[in-house]
């Protein structure tokens, strides 16, 4: 029997029982839709996180710290007493392929403006170098970032200026804010407050989301002022700008820095962070796909169940077909074709509805209304993130193939049983 005839015969059998076929297909649709929706959302989430990281954390930079911090185990604290100092930038600057480096002194302080007070991160940086490294994010929205500041000045992130996003400002250019740092007297352990009255000279452009570079909710003061104010030369991190973001360059510079500090520092590159995130997402995706896969298996059991029922109902028909000279393998392929049709239709509708579902979820997730509905706040400013679900060709084809394979695998046994029926017994079946 020709393949086209096998298919059209199988199709006529499916069409006969529309409701039953529809429900069987629905099972596959749900399974596939779950897989597609979960995977395309997590892919979209990963993309948006990576994108934000790349914006906030230039790919040609390295972060040197004394350990702990962000990253996998190898970057954990070395346990030594080694402290990074502002002057260490000189050592780093001499390493080949290093463009420049900038030390960051970071402390948590109370910041007062008017009658309000917040606990914020205050970072002391060299404005000129910092602006050069983060040329995409350390930009003044209003005011001007001074390159060689000598006075007690402050640069603030967008959220510091307008924390409630309703125009009620906490501070703005030309405001004077008070930074209060609590230190503990070394001998008496009594807290002592130090204050820094800073004149706001610039408010940064909105950066959005999160990154390891400048942030919307930080207060920046000149490094020289920070050294005086915090009475230390010790810095939390040194940001290194490498001459290019070539992977081998990044690696060789990272190694050179570690060697220069006798392995007492850890070096994080944006590539490493992105790789870590990718691997975390790969695990999450695998897990999600597994859960969704289970629902597809349930659909597979449904297919098997339906086909066994259908096999019993059609025993006589199979007897007739065999009496007419149909070969066992043709009977097998008719039943498998039915599964292929169910699987294909189910997978196709599943991918489509999974995609729709992903987009709906993304809109809800992004925390604001429907797209296109004019709202002053972009979703990102509402604290959430804009997730654009991504349906990769791999997920698309994989879902189609998986739907098809599950359908066929679960149809194998019923189809095999159908093909093995003896004609005379099948014809006698009532």
């Amino acid at each position: 029997m020709k393949a086209s005839d096998v298919f059209s015969y199988a199709f006529s059998a499916i069409r006969l029982r529309k409701l039953r076929a529809g429900l069987t297909i629905l099972g596959v649709v749900i399974g596939i839709a779950a897989i597609v929706a979960l995977l395309s959302i997590s892919q979209g989430l990963q993309n948006s996180i990576s994108e934000q990281l790349q914006t906030g954390f230039a790919t040609d930079t390295l972060i040197v710290s004394t350990g702990g911090g962000f990253g996998p185990g190898e970057m954990a604290s070395t346990g030594s007493d080694f402290k990074l100092s502002v002057n260490h930038t000189q050592i780093i600057d001499e390493i080949e392929n290093v463009d420049m480096s900038v030390a960051v002194i970071q402390k948590s302080c109370y910041v007062e403006s008017g009658e309000r007070e917040f606990r914020l991160t205050v970072a002391g940086v060299d404005f000129a170098k910092y602006a050069d490294i983060y040329s995409g994010t350390f930009i003044a929205k209003s005011g001007k970032i001074p390159l060689n500041p000598e006075n007690e000045i402050v640069v603030v992130g967008k959220r510091i200026s307008d924390p409630w996003k309703n125009g009620t400002l906490f501070c703005d250019v030309d405001y004077t804010i008070k930074i209060i740092w609590t230190t503990y007297n070394a001998s008496t352990l009594k807290p002592e407050n130090k204050t820094y009255m800073g004149n706001v000279v610039a408010v940064l452009e909105e950066i959005g989301g999160f990154g390891l570079g400048p942030s919307d909710s930080s207060v920046y003061i000149p490094i020289s002022q920070a050294q005086t104010f915090f009475e230390t030369n010790e810095c939390n991190t040194i940001i290194v700008k490498v001459e290019n973001d070539d992977e081998t360059t990044i690696e060789s510079v990272s190694e050179a820095i570690e060697v220069a500090f006798s392995d007492q520092v850890s070096v994080i590159s944006s590539t490493a962070v992105l790789n870590t995130i990718s691997s975390v997402f790969a695990t999450i995706e695998f897990f999600l796909a597994g859960i969704a896969g289970i629902s597809l298996l349930v659909a597979g059991v449904g297919i098997m169940n339906i086909m066994i029922v259908s096999l019993m109902e059609r025993t006589r028909e199979i007897g007739i077909l065999k009496a007419l000279g149909m070969k066992s393998r043709t009977v097998l392929s008719i039943f498998l074709s039915e599964a292929v049709i169910v699987g294909l239709i189910g997978a196709a509708f599943g991918v489509a509805s999974g995609w729709v579902l992903a987009n709906v979820v993304a809109v809800v997730f992004s925390g604001g209304g429907l797209p296109g509905v004019g709202r002053g706040n972009h979703a990102a400013t509402a604290g959430g993130m804009v997730i654009t679900p991504v349906l990769t060709p791999t997920v698309f084809l994989g879902a189609l193939a998986f739907g098809l394979i599950v359908s066929v695998v679960f149809a194998l046994y019923p189809a095999w049983r159908a093909s093995k029926l003896k004609p005379v017994e099948a014809l006698r079946y009532e």
Binding site: M1, D5, K322, A323, L324, G325, S328
Partner: protein
């Protein structure tokens, strides 16, 4: 002596019906020549249908052999048996049409199995249905046809692959006598005009009277044969 189209030697069939051992055939020797018209008579349970199923390669004998055009059926594998069945025109008492296919679809399916093209089989199906007098009913499904019409479709289907012989298991058992006469007239005409070898199981003496040979069966054995 020419090779008979059908020959059985010492054909035996035993099967278990629940816990009861049934000896359906107890040594049947039958020889059918090309162009023969055989009527098999006998009470129910005498083994008529079992014999016909053996000849049509739908069932396997417990003992003895069936030869179709000199070929020992027991030597054929599953595919060989399927090929053999394509050359057997089987007509059943209960029609055994596929309910969801039209009259034409049922006849066409028979030709689709050996792989005949859509165009050719469509044309031939219409011709065959016209031969059995169903020209106007080609597009109807079995449920929309009377018993007699269904059996005509079954005959058209049996003829579709130009079979070597026709095997009819009480073809008129479920239809009225007038239609039954018409159908038998059709079968006789096929036998006379086209030399179609035919074996008919029947209870109807009128039909049996028209056959060239009358074979009487009882308890799994051929007890008498009349040649007219």
């Amino acid at each position: 002596m020419t090779t008979p189209i059908i020959q059985t030697t010492n054909l035996r069939k035993t099967y278990m019906l629940g816990k009861v051992r049934v000896e359906a055939l107890r040594g049947v020797d039958l020889r059918v020549e090309k162009g023969d018209f055989l009527a098999i008579l006998g009470p129910s349970g005498s083994g008529k249908s079992t014999l016909l199923n053996m000849i049509g390669a739908l069932d396997k004998p417990t003992e003895g052999k069936v030869f179709i055009e000199g070929i020992d059926v027991s030597t054929l594998d599953d595919n060989g048996l399927a090929d053999l069945r394509r050359k057997v025109g089987f007509v059943f008492q209960f029609f055994n049409l596929i309910p969801r296919l039209t009259a034409k679809g049922n006849v066409e399916l028979t030709m689709a199995i050996p792989g005949l093209g859509k165009k050719e089989r469509g044309k031939r199906a219409e011709e065959l249905l016209e031969t059995v007098g169903l020209k106007e009913r080609v597009g109807h499904k079995p449920a929309e046809l009377s018993g007699g019409e269904r059996q005509r479709v079954a005959i058209a289907r049996a003829l579709a692959n130009s079979p070597n012989f026709l095997l009819m298991d009480e073809p008129t058992g479920n239809i009225d006598s007038k239609t039954s006469k018409e159908i038998m007239a059709l079968v006789i005409r096929l036998n006379k005009e086209k030399g179609m070898t035919t074996i008919v199981i029947t209870h109807d003496q009128h039909i049996a009277a028209q056959a060239k040979r009358k074979v009487q069966m009882l308890d799994g054995l051929i007890i008498r044969e009349e040649v007219s």
